[in-house]
C-alpha cells in the first residue's frame, strides 16, 4: 500500500471511529427528511395558528404546498449544514499540531503535500456523500408527495451549493496551514466567506463571486438559467484549486 493511500485510509478510519462521520450522516439525513416534512406541516401549522393570526389582523388565504416549498427549505438549511461541517472539521490539521501526532509521520518520510491532499480528499468525500445523501432524500420525498418533474434542472441547482461547499473546505484547509488553533481557522474562514457574501451585493461583480451559489432556487422557479451560474461555478472551482495549492506551499514551509 502506498504511503498516501495509507494516510488517507487513516483519515477515513478516524472519521468512523471518532464518530464524526456518523454525526454528519445523521444530521444530513435529518435535514433531508426535514425539508419535505416542514413543507408538509406548514398547512397544518397555519390552520392551528389561524385564530391567533386573525386576532393580530392577519388573514390567511389558502396556501399551496408543493415540491418548491421543500426545495426552498433545502436551500435554507444549507448554511446551517455548512456551519456544522466547519465546526466538526475546523481542527482537522490544528488538532494534529497541538498533539504532535504529525511528527512521527513526517519523520517516517511522508511528503507534506500528501498530508494536505489526503485530509482535503477525506473532507471532500465526506461533504460529497453527506450533501448528495441529503439531496437524494429530499428529492425522493418530493417525488413521492409531489412532482419534481415540473422544476427545471434540480440537480444543477443542487450542484451550486455543493461547489460552494468545496470552496469553503479548501478555505478551511488553507487557514489550517496558517493558524495553529481550530477556533482561529474557523473564524478566519468565516470572515473570508462573510466578506465574499458582502461583496456579492455589488451588482457588477455578484455573478462572479462564490456567494452567488448559496441560493440557486431561481433556477427551479424558472427565473434564472443554469448559464447564469456558470461563471461563479468556474471561479469557485479555480479558487478551490488555488487554495489547495497555496496550502501545500505554506505547509511545506511550516
Amino acid at each position: 500500500m502506498k504511503p498516501f493511500t495509507a494516510f488517507f485510509c487513516k483519515e477515513l478510519t478516524e472519521l468512523k471511529r471518532t464518530g464524526k462521520l456518523w454525526i454528519l450522516i445523521l444530521i444530513f439525513v435529518l435535514f433531508g427528511i426535514m425539508n419535505p416534512a416542514i413543507a408538509k406541516l406548514i398547512p397544518w401549522m397555519l390552520e392551528t395558528f389561524a385564530d391567533s393570526f386573525a386576532e393580530s389582523g392577519i388573514t390567511l388565504t389558502e396556501m399551496t404546498v408543493d415540491a418548491m416549498t421543500s426545495w426552498t427549505q433545502f436551500y435554507k438549511n444549507i448554511p446551517m449544514a455548512l456551519i456544522i461541517f466547519f465546526l466538526l472539521f475546523g481542527n482537522i490539521m490544528t488538532g494534529e499540531y497541538q498533539k504532535g501526532t504529525l511528527i512521527p509521520i513526517l519523520t517516517k518520510g511522508l511528503p507534506r503535500r500528501h498530508i494536505v491532499t489526503a485530509k482535503t480528499l477525506a473532507m471532500l468525500l465526506t461533504w460529497t456523500g453527506c450533501y448528495w445523501l441529503c439531496y437524494g432524500i429530499t428529492y425522493a420525498y418530493n417525488s413521492w408527495f409531489w412532482d419534481n418533474s415540473v422544476y427545471p434542472h434540480p440537480a444543477f441547482a443542487a450542484l451550486c451549493p455543493y461547489v460552494l461547499g468545496i470552496w469553503l473546505l479548501s478555505l478551511l484547509m488553507l487557514m489550517s496551514t496558517v493558524f495553529e488553533t481550530g477556533s482561529s481557522v474557523t473564524v478566519s474562514a468565516g470572515v473570508v466567506f462573510i466578506a465574499a457574501y458582502l461583496l456579492s451585493m455589488i451588482p457588477k461583480i455578484q455573478d462572479y463571486l462564490p456567494a452567488r451559489l448559496l441560493n440557486p432556487a431561481g433556477i427551479l422557479q424558472g427565473i434564472q438559467k443554469p448559464e447564469d451560474y456558470l461563471a461563479a461555478l468556474g471561479i469557485c472551482l479555480m479558487l478551490s484549486l488555488g487554495n489547495l495549492m497555496l496550502s501545500v506551499i505554506l505547509f511545506n514551509k511550516k
Binding site: 500500500m1 502506498k2 504511503p3 495509507a6 487513516k10 504532535g100 512521527p104 518520510g109 511522508l110 511545506n252
Partner: protein, 320 residues
C-alpha cells in the same frame, strides 16, 4: 565511523541564540547521552538533525549524508521518539505500526513480522486496546517500537524517561541498552542517573555549545583535573573524594570517631569523611583492624555526575 556529525551548527529564534557553533559526533553502535539543563537546546538540536528545523549555519551529516530542511532524505536512517509522544488514539498499537510501516514503504509481510517482534520487545505484545487508553509509559514504549520499525541506523530519543516512575524508567533504559547492537542511540535527558546507567559517551550542552564530550570515565578524570585546578587557585591542599564507613553497631561508630576523628554522620551507624584521600582510607582500615571494630563496609566516594555537571557548567558559564 560516526553515525552523526554536527559541524559548527548555529540556530537562533529571533534574538535568542539557542545553538552557537555546536560541533560533536556520535560513533556507530554507541549509546550517546546528550545532557543539558531545561532549555539548553537539546530538542532543537534533534529537530535540526531530523530536518524539522532549518539551521542558520553549519552542517549536519547522518551516515555521511547531509541533512536538508523539509523533505529530508537522511530520515530513512533515523528512528525518532519525541518528547511526550502522542499517537492516534483511535488505533490499536498494531494498527499504528502498520500505518507507520506503510508510510515508510516497508513490504506488508515485513511490517507484520517486525511489528509483532517490536511489540513483544517493548512489552506491548498482545495488547489489543486502542491507544487512547494507554498510560504515559505505554505510549513511551509504543514510541520506541515505532521508532525502531524500519531498522534505523540511528535512534534519536528526546527525554525518553522524563515523567516516568522509576519502574518505567528502568524498562525504557533496559530496552535502549538491549538494542545497542542493532543501532546507534542518541538520547537526551536532564536525569543524570540515566546517563550513568547506560551511556558509552556523553556530551554536555551548555549555552549553545558542547561544554564536555567524552566517556564517563574521562568525565571523572576531568573532575579530578578541575579539583586540582581549584586547589592551585586557592592554594588549598589537594584532597580526595572522601570515603564512607558503615558500622554494625552505633557504639562502634562513636568509638571509631573518638579515635580517628569526627566525621559527618550519614546515619546512626554511618560516617562520611569528605575530602580524604586513599591514603587516609588505608589509615582508617588499619585503625579498624587494630581496634577490632566490626564494620559492614568501607568505600571510596565517587563524585556524582550531578556534581561534575555543576562544576563544568560553572566553569564554562560565559560572562553576562
Amino acid at each position: 565511523m560516526d553515525m552523526l556529525t554536527l559541524s559548527h551548527v548555529s540556530k537562533a529564534f529571533g534574538k535568542h541564540q539557542i545553538l552557537n557553533d555546536l560541533s560533536f559526533s556520535v560513533p556507530e553502535h554507541s549509546i550517546f547521552g546528550f545532557i543539558g539543563q531545561n532549555g539548553a537546546g537539546k530538542t532543537t538540536t534533534m529537530k535540526l538533525v531530523l530536518g524539522l528545523l532549518k539551521n542558520d549555519s553549519g552542517q549536519i551529516l547522518v551516515n555521511g549524508e547531509p541533512v536538508t530542511y523539509g523533505q529530508n532524505c537522511t530520515n530513512r536512517y533515523i528512528g525518532y521518539l519525541p518528547d511526550v509522544p502522542e499517537f492516534y488514539g483511535f488505533l490499536t498499537p498494531a494498527e499504528y505500526l502498520k500505518l507507520m510501516g506503510r508510510i515508510a514503504k516497508m513490504p506488508e509481510a515485513k511490517i507484520d513480522a517486525r511489528s509483532r517482534r517490536l511489540l513483544d520487545l517493548v512489552g506491548l505484545g498482545g495488547v489489543t486496546k486502542r491507544i487512547h487508553g494507554f498510560s504515559r509509559g505505554m505510549k513511551q514504549r509504543l514510541g520506541i517500537a515505532q521508532a525502531l520499525l524500519g531498522h534505523p541506523r540511528l535512534l534519536i530519543c528526546d527525554e525518553p524517561t522524563s515523567a516516568l516512575d522509576p519502574a518505567g524508567r528502568k524498562e525504557i533504559l533496559d530496552i535502549l541498552s538491549s538494542i545497542k547492537e542493532e543501532t546507534t542511540v542518541l538520547f537526551s535527558t536532564h536525569i543524570l542517573s540515566d546517563v550513568e546507567r547506560i551511556c558509552d559517551e556523553i556530551a554536555l550542552l551548555h549555552q549553545g555549545r558542547i561544554a564536555f564530550h567524552g566517556t564517563l570515565e574521562s568525565l571523572h578524570h576531568y573532575r579530578s583535573d578541575l579539583a586540582q585546578e581549584e586547589c592551585l587557585e586557592t592554594s588549598a591542599p589537594i584532597g580526595g573524594t572522601g570515603f564512607e564507613i558503615e558500622f554494625i553497631r552505633p557504639e562502634d561508630t562513636r568509638l571509631f570517631a573518638s579515635c580517628y576523628g569526627e566525621g559527618k554522620p550519614v546515619s546512626r551507624t554511618g560516617l562520611m569523611y569528605e575530602g580524604r584521600t586513599e591514603k587516609d582510607m588505608l589509615d582508617a582500615i588499619g585503625l579498624i583492624a587494630a581496634r577490632h571494630i566490626p564494620i559492614r563496609k568501607i568505600e571510596m566516594c565517587e563524585p556524582t555526575l550531578e556534581h561534575l555537571f555543576l562544576k563544568i557548567t560553572e566553569k564554562t558559564d560565559l560572562p553576562r
